[in-house]
Structures are given as C-alpha cells and as structure tokens.
Symmetry: C2
Subunit: 320 residues, 2 copies
C-alpha cells in the first residue's frame, strides 16, 4: 500500500484536512472551522482533530499516516517549522507549530505557506503538470501567489509570490494590508465587499446583499458574487470588471519579471468563476505583457478547494 | 597564467569590449560605436574588431583567448546562440551570431542578454557578492533587469527580468515599448528626454538642453541630467522625482514577487547618480514593500560601465 500523508490547509474561516496517497490521491477528508483569536494550544488541538477526522473518513488507522503537512496562511520558516506571521491567529507568531503538533499526532510535521503548497500541488498533479515553471494565483478573500521555477518552489526569504501586493496603480485604492494601489485592493473579495457595502450605503442599488441574506451568509462569498453577476447586477459587474482589469495588470507585471510558462488561477473566486473569467483575465494581461509574441498559458486550477490540503500533504511526502 | 576570455557588451550607441581573466580581472578594454541599421556582416566585423582592440590593449596575443561572450541588448536563445529580438539592429533578428562570430575569432562564442550577464557579474564579482539571490536593475536609456536566484541566473523563457515593463500605473504614460504605465515610461532616460523636450517646447524653462549643447551632445546623457540636477533645474528635478517614485514602486512590486536578498542598481543613470539617489529609491520602495520588516539591501553596482563586458566574458569562462 502507498504511504499516506495528512495535509491541512488553514484558511481564515476553515481548516480543510485530507489524507493523501504518495500519488496524490485523496482518500479521506474533513473540515473544521478556524476559531478566531484561538490560542496556540487550541489551534494545535483543532489541527489534530481535523486530521483525525480525515483519517476516520479515509477508513484507515491513525497510525497509517507517515507524516502531516500544514499549509499556513502567511509566511513561515519551513526549516524551523515556525510561523513567521499570523494575521488571523496573531498569538501564533513565532510559535513552533510543526514540533508541537508532531508531539500530538506522533509523526513528523512539516509547515509550508498555503498558497505555495497549493501551487506545488497544481504543478505536480493539477493544471501545471505540462510545464516546468508556473505562477499560481489564488483569488479569494485576498490574492495570494506561489511560484515554481525549473520544477522547484521559489519562496525567496519566505515571502516570495505576494502577487496580491504587486502595485497596479501608484497612489490608488487602500489595500487591506495598509498600502495603496495593490492588486488585492481591487481584486480581493474582502476589499470588493467593503467597496460594495459603501456603494450600497450611498444608495446604489445592488442585489449582492439580498443574495447574501437569502443564503444565510454574513459576507459576500464567491457563490454570492457569481449569482449577482449572472443576474447582471450593475454594481457587482462594475466591481468585477475592475478586479479583472487589476488581475490582468498585476499578473502581467509578475510575468514580465518571471517569464514562466503558465499561470494557474485558483482560490474561491478563481475556481468559482472559471473559464469565462479566465479568458477575460487573459485579455487584460495582454496589453501589459512584454514578451507578447508567446504569452504563457493561463489556466484554472484543477484541484479546486482541495489543492491546499493536497499540497500540504505532499510537503510531508517530500520531507527528508 | 589564468585563462582569458573576451567579453563584449553591445549597447544602443557603443560596444564595450574587455579581456577578462578567470578571476574576473579586466586586463584590456576597447570601445567601438554601434552602427545603426548595420547588416549582420557589419555587426560581426565590428564585434571582432572590438575584441581584437581589447586584446591589443591587454598586450597579449589574440590566440590567448579561450572564448568570447556577447551581452546582447534584448532576448537571445543562449543555447542556440541566436538573437531573438533586435530593436537597435533589426536585421539581426534570428541571426546565428555566436556561430558566425566564432568562425571569425576562432574560439567558441556564447551569447547572453546584456543586463542578465551584467547582473551575473555583479553577483559574482560586484555589489551582489555577499548574497545568494539578487535583482539587478539597469537604469539608463531604458530600464532593464536581471535575476539571480540561489546562485543561478533566472532567465525564464528568455525574457525574464523585464523590470522596466512592470506596470506602475494602469492607463499611465506611454512607454517607448508602446504599452502604457510601464516603469520605463517614467524612469527611462529616453522617455524622460522626450518629456523634457515637450515641456521646453511648451515654454517651460530648463537648462537641460543648454548643458547638452555645451557638452557637444545630441541627447540628454546621464552626465547632463546630473549637472542640471546639481544646479537645481526645476524641470530636471521634477522629472527625476517622478522617475525615483516609479523606480521605487516597480522595484517593490518585483520584490513582492521575488523576495530576493538584495537589489543592485547599475546603468548610466544608476552609476552616475549613485548613493544619494539610491537612498531616495530605497525610501520610494518601502511604502509598497510587503515584507517590510526585513527590506533587502539596495546597492549601487560596483563594476560600473564594465559590468556588462565582464559578465559577457564570464559567459565564455563558464561555457561547457
């Protein structure tokens, strides 16, 4: 039997766990909410709980796992297994998460950045398979990115691939990160929701928040955006047009630096909006692409919501 | 005696040749003008002539060279030794420059991109020595760039490092490349001169063109800009302030993607304006840098005008 590894993708709202074979096949999965302002102890408990639930779902013994990987939403020190920055869970900054969880689950634990491991998974098992170098763009609440060059992840000093903070307009809109003119200030779901809410408060008509309430949500999920766009909601359409424009510009800037073979677009909005929006992003990239005689492929992520957990599990498989 | 290699940095106006030891020491050099619209045959002749003059200057025999490297101002296919794009010398597009020149000079010839080889030289022998990964920014007529990651050049599919075409402002100024809002549209000497000329024609006072004529130049060289700035010329100051701002934004965007350890700034303007402007560029980078808790070093290129020729010669030294 193939070796099994557990992977957990830690998001702002949920933890997605999976049990994954060496070949990248998902044989069990589970979700747990991410508690806000949880203590390091709580986080370790919840991670172990999510992994155990995925092991149950797989119908194997806990002892079947040979390793666990974590995809963390922020910069990490992979070698030390320490969280470097923790926006959603501030108490975890500097916490030796890998070693502590390893004590709990009884196997080695490796820590990676969530979008980087999701990019690695798309490179090895998903849309990036045919290529040697890719840029992963994860378009959701924020806009994150990962890079694979010549088959190897490029993480810089731990914070490479921050495509959401490539500037698309000097002196432009304020970004949730506190800077101005970042791609994420135009295309991140959090920034778009803030802008939609203000427009509504100013009296602009939109069905975005009606759809949100109908669906029992308290924020504008990717599904809410998709539905409003399908109904031709003018505010949703305008904000999404601006987001697509910004994505095109930011991705083109990154491509002018990296000149990779392909761009894989994932994340909640990326996967939900899919092919049609991809073509529009492609069109928005072209006017700013320097080597426009051979544009890279622009593709939707194939592993969907599970890419992060699969990539996290692969961290364990590839551990020394 | 150390093996000797010839290197030629092909610029828009001149070819700089050097004879370089394996340790990177320059033992001879020569310059030749770059003829506009020269035929491939003329270019090969001029390159061979420049190399021979550098060999004479070194006081060695022509047969002392074991290889020759060329730093070409545009994308090249290094493996095939073929010019991919040739803006200044359009007839050379697709020309097998390496093999043809090799027939002339009797040693293997290797072809590389000019700013990439200059970046490699700064990495191995210049300001980048202490670091494992750098971004080279060559600020002159245009704004070019080169990348070294984990000690190895990253050239993508042949067009990586085009930092001059990172967008700093969507829908912004027209760039000489035909696109809008590129860094080079604000910071390239060609774009700055065009803008200065228009302002003067509109009646704005400036000493830029007086200095140019006094010096017997027909364009605004880096020396002309430096002098006008020293005299507090308001137009020169305003255009340079805007250039520094754009450089800060574009470099920060590239750093958010690459997260390298250091930025080395060379090129005519970079070397001429030096440390003081470097500090100002640094200040312009910071507001847009995502990992701003540990900014990379920002340094002036140490090899000056000869960096390109040295890097080109090193291409030969490192050839298989």
């Amino acid at each position: 039997m193939s070796k099994l590894s557990g992977g957990i993708d830690v998001g702002g709202t949920k933890m997605q766990a999976a049990v994954v074979s060496e070949e990248g096949k998902v044989i069990g999965q589970a979700r747990r909410p991410t508690r806000t302002n949880a203590s390091p102890k709580d986080v370790v408990h919840d991670l172990a709980d999510a992994i155990n639930a995925a092991v149950d779902d797989a119908g194997v013994e806990g002892s079947a796992l040979t390793s666990v990987g974590i995809g963390w939403p922020g910069p990490v020190d992979t070698d030390a297994g320490v969280v470097t920055k923790a926006v959603h869970l501030p108490e975890l900054r500097g916490f030796p998460l890998a070693d502590t969880l390893s004590g709990d689950v009884g196997v080695p634990v490796r820590l990676g950045n969530d979008v980087q491991v999701a990019t690695d998974a798309e490179f090895s098992l998903g849309a990036g398979r045919p290529y040697g170098s890719i840029l992963g763009v994860f378009w959701g609440t924020g806009v994150g990115g990962g890079i694979v060059l010549d088959g190897r992840p490029w993480t810089g000093r731990g914070a490479a691939g921050e495509i959401g903070h490539v500037v698309v307009r000097e002196g432009g809109r304020w970004c949730p990160c506190g800077r101005r003119g970042c791609l994420e200030a135009y295309a991140g779901r959090a920034a778009m929701e803030k802008r939609a809410r203000r427009a509504m408060e100013r009296g602009e008509h939109t069905i975005l928040f009606e759809i949100m309430e109908e669906r029992g949500r308290d924020r504008l999920t990717s599904g809410v955006w998709e539905r409003a766009l399908r109904h031709g909601d003018p505010l949703a359409t305008r904000l999404m047009d601006r987001a697509v424009q910004a994505l095109g510009t930011g991705i083109a800037s990154a491509l002018n630096v990296l000149d990779v073979e392909a761009v894989v677009i994932g994340g909640g909005l990326g996967v939900r909006l899919g092919e049609h929006y991809l073509e529009r992003i492609d069109e928005a990239v072209m006017p700013h692409l320097f080597a426009d005689d051979r544009p890279p492929a622009i593709l939707v992520a194939e592993l969907g919501d599970l890419g992060g957990a699969i990539g996290a599990a692969m961290l364990g498989h590839s551990a020394p």
